[in-house]
Amino acid sequence: MLEVRDLCRELGAMRNRVLDEVALEIRAGEFVSITGFSGSGKSTLLYLLGALDRPSSGIVKLDGIDISLLDDDARATLRNEKLGFVFQFHFLLPEFNVLENVMIPMLRRGKRSRSECQRRASEVLESVGLGELLARRPHQLSGGQQQRASIARAVANDPRIVLADEPTGNLDSKSGLAVMQVFEHLVRAQGLTVVMVTHERTFAARTSRQLEMQDGRIIADIDQRDD
C-alpha cells in the first residue's frame, strides 16, 4: 500500500542528510512502530510518508501514486482523504469542541452531509471512550483524553493509513497505555493501518512490526507476523 524507495532528505544550509536511501514497504492492516534515538530521522520519515514534506530524492508511493510529485494543493487533498495524523501534542483547535474538531476534516472533504459527519464523529469518539465529552472544549480535557480525541479526528475521515508521531510522548504511563490500547483496538477491529514513531520500547514491542532507525537508515525491521 505504501512503498518507499531510495528516499533521501537533506535539511538546512549544510544539507545534512537526515534520511539516507530509505526503502520500505507497508502493507494494509499493519501496525508499524519506528524507534530510534533523537535525530535518527524517524519524524522526518513520517512527514514524508504523510505528504507533509517533500523528499530531496526518492519515491513515496501511496496506492501506486508517487506523492512526492504532487503539488501543494494535491498533497493537501491527499492528506485530507487518505491520511490521518496524530502528533505528540494534541493539536486540537481551541475554538471548537471535541465533536467539531473531529468533524472538521470530514466537512472539508465534503463527502458526507453535516448530519452524517456528526453521526460518524460521535460514533468514533464513542469508540475511543469519549462519548460523554463531545461538547467539551479541548482545554477541558485531560492529556490522555485530548490525545484520544486526536486519534478520533485522524480516524473519522476513513484514512488509508494513520501516522502517529510520538502519540504517547507527552502522557503519563497510564494515559499512554490507554492511547496504545485505542490504536490496538482500531487495528484489530477495523483493520486500520498505523505507523507510529515512539521512544518507548514497551509500546513498540506491542506492535506487529518494529522498525529501528539510526543515522537516517533503517537498521532493524522485525515483522512479528512473519515469525
Binding site: G50, D53, L78, F87, F91, L93, N157, D165
Partner: protein, 418 residues
C-alpha cells in the same frame, strides 16, 4: 468557498470578540465620520447652491462687447491715425446691449433655454425719512424676470401682481426693509449719482434665504431703473434660465459666439464658492480617508497578531487537508466581516447622528439663512461608507492572510517537536 472555511472563520472571529470588536469599532468610527462630515458639508453646499440657483440666472449676458467697435478717431480717417486714445472718458463709450429685444427673442429660441429677460443693474441710494441705505438696484421686466429668477416665489409680503401693474413700485430685500424700517405702502426716495430722483412705493418684500442678497438687493421696473441711473433705453444684462443647470457653461459659450457679448454661467459667477466647496470636499476626502486607513491599520495589526498566534492552528488545518487558499480566504473573510460589521454600525450610528444634527436648532445667517443645522442625509453616503470599509478591510487583511497561507505545517511540527 467551502462552507467549512466560513464556519471556521466565523468561529475564530467570535472567539476573539474583544480584539475583533476593537477592529470593528475602528472601522465604525471611520464610516461614522464619513457620513457625518459629508452630511454636514453637503447639507450646507447643496442648500447654498439650491438657493443660488433659484434666485440667480443660469447664464448672464453682460453689456461688454467681445469685439468692441474701433474708436471714433480710427473710424473717422481711412488711414491709420491713432490706435489708442489716452484718457478716454467712460461716458464716451456707454456700455449697453444693442437690440436687447431681439437677443431675448433669439435666446429664447435656443435649445435648453427656458426663459430670457432683459434688465439693468446699478447702484442707488434709498432714503426713507432720515435713513439712507445704498442698494444694488435691479431694473426688470416683471413678467419675464419671474420666469428666469422666480422672484414672486420669494415674496414674503406684498404682491407681485401690484408690482407688475403699478408704474412706481419697488420690491425690497427683507434685510434692506428692516434696515430702512420700511413698511408696505411707504414711499421711498430713490436716487443715484447719474440720473433723476424718483419716489417709489414699497409693494413687497422678498426673502431668498441668502443674506448677502436679501440685505442689498431691490427690484424696480426696467423703465424706472433707466431713469434713475440716467441710462435711457439702456439694457445692461440679459439673464437666461436653462432646463439643465449643468449645461450652463456650454450655453454661455454659444451665446458669446452668437451675440458677441460677454456671457457668464452661474458656475463662473459663483466660481469662488464652488472653488471653496471643491477644496472643502478634497480636505474631507483626505480626512475621511485617513480615518478609514487608521481603521484599516487596526484590522491589520490585530490580524497579524492573530495569524502569529494561530500558526499552530494553521498547521493543523493544513495537515488535515486544508489548501493554502482555504487559509487565505478564511482570513480575508474575517477582514471583510470586521469591515462590514463596522460599516453597519457606522452607518446606523451615522444615520442617528445626522438625524440628531438635523433637529439641532441654530440660527445661522451667513451665506445661507437657516433655523436648523443643515445636514444632508444622502443614502449614497451609506453605500460609500460600506464600500470604502470593505475595500480597506480586504486590503488590510491581505497581508496577514498571505502570511497565514504561507505557513508550512512541517516547519511548525519540527519546531514543536524539537
Amino acid at each position: 468557498m467551502s462552507r467549512i472555511v466560513v464556519f471556521i472563520a466565523l468561529r475564530q472571529l467570535w472567539d476573539r470578540k474583544l480584539l475583533n470588536g476593537i477592529a470593528v469599532l475602528g472601522v465604525a468610527l471611520g464610516v461614522l465620520v464619513l457620513i457625518a462630515i459629508n452630511g454636514i458639508m453637503q447639507g450646507f453646499q447643496v442648500k447654498f447652491l439650491d438657493n443660488i440657483l433659484r434666485i440667480s440666472p443660469h447664464v448672464t449676458i453682460f453689456d461688454k462687447q467681445l469685439r468692441p467697435e474701433a474708436s471714433i478717431l480710427t473710424r473717422y480717417e481711412d488711414t491709420f491715425v491713432a490706435a489708442k486714445v489716452a484718457h478716454e472718458s467712460p461716458s464716451d463709450r456707454q456700455l449697453r446691449i444693442a437690440r436687447p429685444t431681439e437677443i431675448v427673442r433669439a435666446a429664447e429660441q435656443m435649445s435648453g433655454v427656458q426663459a430670457a429677460a432683459a434688465s439693468l443693474v446699478g447702484s442707488a441710494v434709498l432714503v426713507l425719512g432720515s435713513k439712507q441705505y445704498p442698494v444694488d438696484l435691479r431694473g426688470i421686466d416683471p413678467a419675464k424676470q419671474d420666469q428666469v429668477t422666480p422672484l414672486s416665489a420669494y415674496l414674503v409680503e406684498g404682491s407681485y401682481r401690484t408690482f407688475s401693474a403699478a408704474s412706481d413700485g419697488i420690491i425690497l430685500g427683507s434685510g434692506v426693509a428692516s434696515r430702512l424700517g420700511a413698511n408696505l405702502g411707504d414711499v421711498i426716495v430713490c436716487g443715484s449719482g447719474t440720473g433723476d430722483r424718483l419716489n417709489l412705493k414699497v409693494v413687497g418684500f422678498f426673502d431668498a434665504g441668502i443674506p448677502p442678497v436679501d440685505n442689498s438687493r431691490v427690484y424696480v421696473k426696467l423703465r424706472n431703473a433707466q431713469v434713475l441711473l440716467g441710462k435711457p433705453d439702456v439694457v445692461g444684462r440679459i439673464e437666461l434660465r436653462l432646463a439643465d443647470t449643468d449645461s450652463a457653461p456650454r450655453v454661455s459659450d454659444s451665446v458669446e459666439r452668437m451675440f458677441g457679448y460677454d456671457a457668464e454661467s452661474w458656475q463662473e459667477t459663483n466660481s469662488n464658492f464652488l472653488g471653496i466647496f471643491a477644496m472643502q470636499n478634497t480636505i474631507i476626502s483626505f480626512v475621511v480617508g485617513a480615518i478609514l486607513a487608521v481603521g484599516g491599520f487596526g484590522i491589520l495589526a490585530i490580524q497579524i497578531m492573530i495569524v502569529l498566534q494561530k500558526t499552530r492552528d494553521i498547521a493543523i488545518l493544513r495537515s488535515v487537508g486544508f489548501h493554502r487558499n482555504d487559509i487565505l480566504v478564511g482570513f480575508l473573510l474575517q477582514g471583510a466581516i470586521i469591515a462590514l460589521v463596522g460599516a453597519a454600525i457606522g452607518d446606523l450610528v451615522g444615520h442617528y447622528v445626522v438625524l440628531a444634527l438635523s433637529h439641532l436648532k441654530t440660527h445661522q445667517e451667513g451665506l445661507v439663512k437657516s433655523e436648523y443645522f443643515l445636514v444632508r442625509d444622502d443614502p449614497r453616503f451609506y453605500w460609500y461608507g460600506a464600500a470604502f470599509a470593505l475595500t480597506v478591510g480586504l486590503i488590510a487583511s491581505m497581508i496577514p492572510a498571505l502570511r497565514g497561507s504561507r505557513v508550512e505545517p512541517v516547519d511548525v511540527l519540527r519546531g514543536q517537536l524539537g
